[in-house]
């Protein structure tokens, strides 16, 4: 782990946005079915060295299956797994340079915390002195030194999580796999531990693959996120890009709240510019911007990108959409107000910073919505 620290900054910079360097893990066209259920369907993915990658999706989407295939705990029906540039598809788990933090932690109940952490090193016949030194260092790093002689049954949930992390990290794996490692903890502890996890990953230059169903967690810690749905990879990208430029309705809806507007057909805007017909009127569209294919099927607008103005404003020439409606529901959510607004074309969710001039709107108040032209996102489905 010390050796990798030097190479870290450059690796990280590349990982953020540069072209793929040597992938720490690559899977190609990976498929796995259980009986009639297709758990993974032709998934291809590259995880870069030093990157914190999250697999995000609802339960049953195949994310844990993918993790287990990388760990070697399960065998794919088709496709290949390459770890550190070497084919690993048929390697048994003990020959793969990866380590896993299990959802249930899977700490060995008959061993002390220290022996749990040392388990992997002893199996690899690391000399006793070096083993002890590395175990001590990792236990200090994960702040479990004072728990060394306890048994897993005597640990709290957060402590177990740290031990499980230490037990995996001490082996200096090329890839650290994390299967919902914070899933069993309460919200406050989750937030605290995920910060620690991210700091540890940065410090050691670890490559991490995190499986989670918690979008907030994924957005907070990841360099990149892959969104899985029903065994297929929907979209891969850095958190900000996934949030700002979702490609599908599923991604748009899974990462944060979103207003989805169906496209009814093509239309002509003012001055004959190409536009899309929606229940709310025509929306400007540039075919050139569409990456191949025809017009989008659905449009998306984030609730925070919509403006509320108390009085009807002038119809803009700049392509903004102006809609009149009525507040149906107003919810105070701390930093923001969340409104449900009914317009003739349908309902909208609108989030506004709390404490705006004029105070929060109340149910029943007529309002005007301004949807800026730049707020529209074109979705493939």
């Amino acid at each position: 782990m010390v050796a990798r620290e030097g190479a870290q900054p450059g690796t990280l910079a590349r990982a953020a946005d540069g072209p793929p360097a040597e992938a720490a893990v690559a899977v190609t066209a990976l498929s796995r079915r259980f009986g009639a259920v297709v758990a993974l369907d032709q998934v291809s993915l590259e995880v870069r060295r030093g990157e914190f990658f999250s697999l995000l999706g609802p339960s049953g989407c195949g994310k844990t299956t993918l993790l287990r295939l990388i760990a070697g705990l399960d065998q794919p029906d088709a496709g290949a797994v390459i770890i550190g540039g070497r084919p690993a598809t048929h390697l048994p788990p003990h020959q793969r340079p990866v380590n896993t933090v299990f959802q249930s932690y899977a700490l060995f109940p008959h061993l002390s915390v220290r022996d749990n952490v040392a388990f992997g090193l002893r199996l690899r016949k690391v000399p006793a002195a070096e083993c002890a030194r590395r175990v001590r260092a990792v236990m200090e790093l994960t702040r479990i030194t004072e728990l060394a002689d306890r048994r897993p049954a005597q640990l709290s949930g957060g402590q177990k999580q740290r031990v499980a992390l230490a037990r995996a990290v001490v082996n200096e794996p090329e890839v650290l796999l994390l299967d919902e490692p914070l899933g069993a903890l309460d919200a406050g502890l989750r937030r605290e531990l995920r910060g620690e996890l991210r700091a540890l990953q940065r410090r050691l230059g670890l490559t991490c693959i995190l499986v989670t169903h918690d979008q907030e967690e994924a957005l907070a810690v990841s360099d990149r996120i892959g969104i899985l749905r029903a065994g297929r990879l929907e979209q891969v990208g850095p958190p900000a890009r996934l949030y700002d430029q979702p490609r599908t309705r599923f991604v748009a809806g899974f990462l944060g709240a979103c207003n989805l507007v169906p496209v009814l057909g093509a239309a002509s805007g003012p001055a004959g510019a190409p536009a899309l017909e929606t229940p709310h009127g025509a929306v400007a569209w540039s075919p050139a911007a569409a990456a191949g294919g025809g017009p989008p099927r659905t449009l998306a607008v984030r609730p925070e990108n919509i403006e509320l103005v108390p009085a009807p404003g002038p119809a803009g020439e700049n392509g903004d959409l102006w809609l009149r409606g009525q507040v149906r529901e107003a919810v105070f959510a701390g930093a923001q107000m969340q409104y449900q607004i009914e317009t003739p074309g349908g309902w909208w969710r609108v989030h506004q910073p709390a404490g705006q001039a004029g105070g929060p709107l109340t149910a029943g108040v007529p309002v005007t919505l301004r949807v800026p032209a730049a707020a529209w996102r074109m979705l493939e489905d």
């Binding site: 760990a71 070697g72 896993t100 959802q103 249930s104 060995f108 388990f119 992997g120 199996l123 690899r124």
Partner: protein, 270 residues
């Protein structure tokens, strides 16, 4: 629990009668083994002469040796095979696992006498066909292992079912081969179950009469077979003495297990 006192009062008498019923046979055997009278049921004074006679009886000593050796050998084999079977079964798909379990339950449900007759026939045909299967120590061990395996597998399987499958996966993930994962993680964790299974197998072997009666040869008389043939010739104080030893073994074994379990429960508490 408000009815506790009253209902116990009524049940207490019935329970006492039932305990008497359960222990009457054991008691007469033990008592008559110390009775100086060779015939009849009159008490003619306390004696240890029947035990002395037993000690000097080469046949009885040989039977004890045969039974213990047989129980030991068959227990070792069946515990290894049964544990491996339970462990392997866990990795099967649920459907095949259910079938495997059924295949294991059939031997449990088949009456002793049917298994005994089937093995007698099997060994006879093996002698005819392959010249192997002379009734003796080997056939006894084979027969005993056969009825022990399902019990071992069921007991160990119950223990394995309570084990998080991720533990073994974690061991493999940390660099253990399947064998090492079993030895260093699974086996220590299921050891109480394995020992309980071995104890059960040992007792089943020691207790078995019917299968041994059919599959033992002239030179390999087990203790129960010896008791049976003696009883058939007529009851003697020596048989009571021999049986008393078996009763004492059962008492010692049972109480020992209870005490061990109690100590284990105290130790494993945090």
């Amino acid at each position: 629990m408000k009815a506790c006192g009253r209902s116990l009062g009524g049940l207490g008498g019935v329970a006492a009668a039932l305990y008497l019923f359960l222990y009457a046979p054991l008691a007469v055997v033990v008592v008559f083994s110390f009775n100086a009278a060779r015939h009849g049921q009159h008490w003619e004074g306390f004696t240890l002469q029947w035990y002395r006679g037993l000690w000097e009886d080469a046949t009885a000593r040989a039977a004890v040796g045969t039974s213990l050796g047989l129980a030991l050998a068959s227990t070792v084999i069946s515990t290894v095979l049964g544990t491996a079977l339970a462990w392997g079964l866990r990795r099967w798909t649920p459907r095949w696992r259910a079938r495997g379990r059924q295949a294991l339950l059939v031997p449990v449900f088949v009456p002793d006498i049917v298994l005994a007759a089937a093995l007698l026939l099997f060994f006879a045909l093996a002698r005819q066909g392959a010249g192997w299967g002379q009734l003796g120590r080997d056939t006894l061990v084979l027969a005993h292992v056969t009825f022990q395996i399902p019990y071992v597998t069921l007991v160990v399987g119950a223990r394995l079912a309570g084990l998080d499958p991720a533990l073994e996966e974690a061991a493999r993930d940390l660099g253990a081969t399947p064998g090492r994962a079993f030895r260093r993680v699974t086996l220590p964790l299921i050891l109480p179950g394995v020992l309980a299974a071995a104890w059960l197998a040992f007792t089943l072997s020691l207790d078995d009469f019917v299968v041994s009666f059919f599959t033992s040869g002239p030179g390999t008389t087990t203790l129960p077979v010896l008791i049976y043939s003696s009883v058939k010739r007529g009851l003697t104080p020596e048989i009571h003495a021999l049986s008393t030893l078996l009763v004492l073994a059962a008492v010692a074994g049972t109480v020992g297990v209870v005490l061990l379990r109690r100590r284990g429960a105290v130790n494993s508490a945090p």
